[in-house]
């Protein structure tokens, strides 16, 4: 059961911080604000789609440094930068590091809300993808080693007979392993199984 999305705000200016919270609450978003990056890192992040509205100029760790720090902690929460006086090199650097948007204060409220929406959507997708892969991984791990071996050979395009030859067993035995593995993986077809294995292999997260 996933929780409601959360928008985190980090800005060292209390009035900006509270106005951002007010603005986003007014459209029904759940907002949590912090006066520094460290304060946010203290909090256990919820298991819900979330994004971060981050001021570039902060006391202590700067916004851009914080972005790098989060990535290093394997936290992939989308970031929207806001700045009182941004320059082009700064925004390029932020966007290259994966920021959703780079807004210069004072920004149009709609621009911020749009960016937040996009960010939360992205995070939701990311989270769903992550969930799907972990389900598949769970199913795959429930297979016996023999079944794992057989389906990896099936996915690589080998026929049952070829698999039986290579494993030195009967073709029928291969057929049994195969159908049991398909069932455990909840795959309706070989094509679906191929997609699943593909997702598993490509989801080795950084």
């Amino acid at each position: 059961m996933t929780q409601a999305p959360v928008v985190f705000v980090v800005d060292d200016d209390p009035s900006v911080r509270s106005s951002l919270k007010f603005l986003m609450s007014s459209v029904g978003l759940q907002v949590e604000s912090f006066d520094s990056a460290d304060a946010l890192l203290q909090r256990k992040l919820p298991d819900a789609p979330s994004c971060l509205v981050l001021d570039v100029r902060l006391r202590g760790l700067s916004g851009l440094d914080f972005q790098r720090e989060l990535a290093a902690r394997n936290c992939h929460m989308p970031i929207i930068f806001i700045t009182g006086h941004g320059d082009i090199p700064m925004s390029v650097r932020a966007m290259k590091a994966g920021a959703i948007e780079f807004l210069t204060k004072p920004f149009r409220d709609q621009d911020l809300l749009d960016a937040v929406r996009i960010a939360l959507e992205k995070d939701r997708e990311r989270r769903e993808r992550k969930k799907e892969v972990s389900d598949l991984k769970e199913r795959f791990n429930s297979l016996t080693p023999r079944e794992q071996k057989v389906i990896s050979m099936v996915v690589s395009g080998m026929l049952n007979k070829q698999i039986a030859d290579q494993l030195g067993t009967a073709e029928n035995t291969v057929k049994v392993h195969r159908s049991r593995a398909m069932e455990k993986m909840r795959a309706q077809s070989v094509a679906e199984l191929v997609k699943m294995i593909d997702k598993l292999e490509s989801s080795v997260e950084p």
Binding site: D13, S15, V16, S18, S19, L20, F22, L23, S25, S26, V27, R57, I82, G84, H85, T104, K105, P106, F107, D109
Partner: protein, 638 residues
């Protein structure tokens, strides 16, 4: 009785002595043995104009000069007593009262009267020797005079014989040598002649004695008794002795020690000057009134590349580039005619031309000398290429500094802007966010009055905060004039000219500086004022780049304006403002292909921010004048 009287007594014939005596033309008195006169002859009467009674007896003594009479009587008495002949000289009064010299002798005569009784008489005869005596006196006087003149002459005079021995030397000569007369007469002339001068002296003296010459002149040295030397000029003449006397050398000796000393001093001064000129590292070139080179020292080769000998007689203009020649000729002619100098004679910077065609910066000083009615001008030319390079290096370093200062100022401005933006944007963002949130809630009719109240409070607080930021910035900007300092504007002009020097020389622009020496100080930002001046000067130079038919001159002037403020004018002989005169101060207006059109606009703003004015007027006959004023700093003396 004397033998004489006895001799006379031999005759017995009666002698009429008087009749006899009367026939003698000389003055004769016949006296008795004691000297009293028996009678005087006619000649005596006639000469003295006296009657017989006046002369007889002792009366005739009265005709002898009273000064001579005692001596006369004395000698008479002595001679008579000794029985010796009497002869003396005395003056005898003439009828007109004048006295004449006579030689008076006595002769004894026997007179026999009618009875034939002899009696001894003295005949006193007077021979007129007046002329001879006078001649003698004159000679004596003349000799005395000559002796006095000889002795007292300021010029040394001496005489020596054939053996070279002194036999006469006057005081001046003796003093010159420091010897007494007797010491000197023990010496030969050669003894006192300085060793080195002897040979020549001997030779010339030899020629005199050999009759080859009558006279010679020699400058030589004597060694004085105290060992020191004295320079003399001797005029030596061979004089034949009169009346068969020996020939001797007559020498006039002039002490020329002082003159010799002066000469030697002058020579040594000349020598020193010559050495200075010959060894000077500056080229020294003398020219005549026509500008032709009379002399050039060896350094001329080093500076200009010409052999000094090749320059003699050539015009001075060959040492300067073409474009300066006419200028020089005009100036030189004007100076020769009016004495008016058109350039500074001490240390003017000009351009020289080397033999190889290279132009180079020189510093020239001039001197003028009138010799024998001709004017000679001497120029001292120093090659200042290296100094100029150093100056340019310094100027470029300075320019870099100035640029850096401006860059850092811009950077500071940029940082300031960023800071301002951030400071103001924070509350603005909060205000917008809060207001937008309210609008959204209002749209959904979901705005709780309490929420609205809190939001509005925050909006007010942030608005106040934003205006506080603005107020803070304003206060900061007001502090900016702290950069202003009291400066002499001439210093700033010189600094900027140092920056523009290369541009001036590369564009062959002649700079005419007319800076008033005692200007009131101005309270200015040095860098901003430099920007204004540099802008005006560079504009002036650029305005003249197309000028080829006249001299490119840039005048920079400073003086006190009518209102007691400081006025600076930058004047060029360029193309002028034309019909665009009104627009030059408009931002983004430019006549240049690569101009921004901001220089004059910014310059005007800068001048106005200092409380001054900047304006443009046409220059006559060509070019433009850009002038600006700056108020005198408070407390600065006008």
């Amino acid at each position: 009785m004397t033998a004489e009287a006895q001799g006379v007594g031999r005759s017995t014939e009666p002698i009429d002595l008087q009749a006899l005596v009367e026939t003698i033309p000389a003055l004769v008195v016949c006296a008795l043995a004691d000297g009293s006169a028996e009678f005087a002859n006619r000649a005596w009467h006639e000469y003295t104009g006296c009657s017989s009674p006046e002369l007889t007896g002792w009366g005739w003594h009265a005709t002898i000069h009273p000064d001579d009479l005692p001596n006369f009587i004395q000698e008479w008495t002595v001679a008579t007593a000794a029985g010796k002949p009497f002869e003396t000289e005395a003056r005898v009064r003439r009828a007109d009262g004048e006295y004449q010299w006579f030689a008076i002798r006595k002769a004894l005569a026997v007179s026999r009267d009618q009875v034939g009784e002899p009696s001894l008489r003295a005949l006193i005869a007077c021979e007129d020797i007046h002329e001879r005596r006078q001649a003698q006196e004159r000679l004596q006087q003349s000799e005395q005079r000559w002796q006095t003149a000889f002795e007292n002459s300021a010029i040394g005079i001496m005489m020596r014989d054939r053996a070279d021995r002194f036999f006469a030397a006057n005081r001046a000569f003796r003093d010159m040598l420091g010897y007494t007369e007797s010491e000197l007469y023990q010496l030969c002339q050669l003894d006192v002649t300085y060793e080195e001068d002897r040979e020549l002296n001997l030779e010339l003296v030899g020629e005199l004695w050999a009759g080859k010459r009558q006279h010679f002149q020699i400058e030589k040295r004597y060694r004085r008794k105290d060992g020191t030397l004295v320079w003399v000029r001797n005029n030596v003449t061979l004089v034949p002795g009169t009346g068969g006397a020996a020939f001797f050398l007559f020498t006039i000796v002039e002490d020329i020690t002082e003159r010799k000393k002066e000469e030697s001093e002058r020579r040594s001064i000349e020598q020193r000057y010559r050495v200075m000129v010959e060894t000077a590292s500056d080229a020294v070139v003398c020219i005549d009134e026509k500008g032709a080179i009379l002399l050039a020292n060896p350094a001329t080769t080093k500076v200009f590349g010409y052999d000094p000998a090749d320059l003699i007689g050539k015009p001075l203009t060959m040492l300067m580039p073409e474009y300066l020649r006419k200028l020089h000729e005009d100036g030189f002619r004007r100076y020769a005619a009016t004495g008016q100098r058109h350039i500074n004679w001490q240390g003017t910077e000009l351009t020289g031309l080397r033999k190889n065609g290279e132009e180079f910066p020189v510093e020239i000083s001039f001197g003028e000398l009138t010799a024998d009615g001709h004017r000679i001008f001497t120029g001292f030319v120093r090659d200042i290429s290296e100094r100029k390079q150093a100056e340019e290096l310094r100027a470029s370093l300075y320019a870099t500094q100035l640029e850096l200062a401006q860059v850092s100022r811009l950077t500071t401005m940029g940082e300031l802007a960023a800071s301002i933006a951030h400071e103001v944007n924070q509350p603005l963002t909060a205000v917008t966010n809060n207001a937008n949130a309210c609008l959204r809630l209002l749209a959904r009719r979901n705005l709780d009055p309490e929420v609205l109240h809190r939001a509005l409070e925050e909006i007010v607080a942030d608005g106040t905060r934003a205006s506080a930021v603005i107020a803070r910035i304003r206060a900061f900007i007001k502090k900016a004039p702290a950069e202003r300092k009291e400066l002499d504007i001439n210093d700033v002009i010189q600094e900027v000219l140092a920056l523009a020097r290369r541009e001036l020389s590369e564009n062959r622009v002649l700079l005419e500086l007319e800076l008033m020496k005692t200007l009131p100080l101005v309270l200015v930002d040095r860098v901003q004022l430099q920007q204004v001046l540099l802008n005006l000067i560079m504009n002036g130079i650029e305005a003249m780049t197309a000028v080829t038919d006249r001299r490119r001159t840039l005048w920079v002037q400073s003086h006190v304006g009518e209102a007691g403020d400081v006025l600076v004018a930058v004047r060029d002989s360029g193309s002028g403002l034309g019909s665009e005169g009104d627009h030059v101060f408009t931002p983004f207006f430019t006549t240049k292909t690569n101009g921004m059109g901001m220089g004059l606009s910014i310059s005007r703003s800068l001048v106005e921010s200092h409380g001054g004015r900047l304006w443009a007027t046409p220059n006559s006959p060509h070019g433009a004048i850009f002038s600006f004023t700056l108020p005198a700093a408070a407390g600065s003396p006008p």
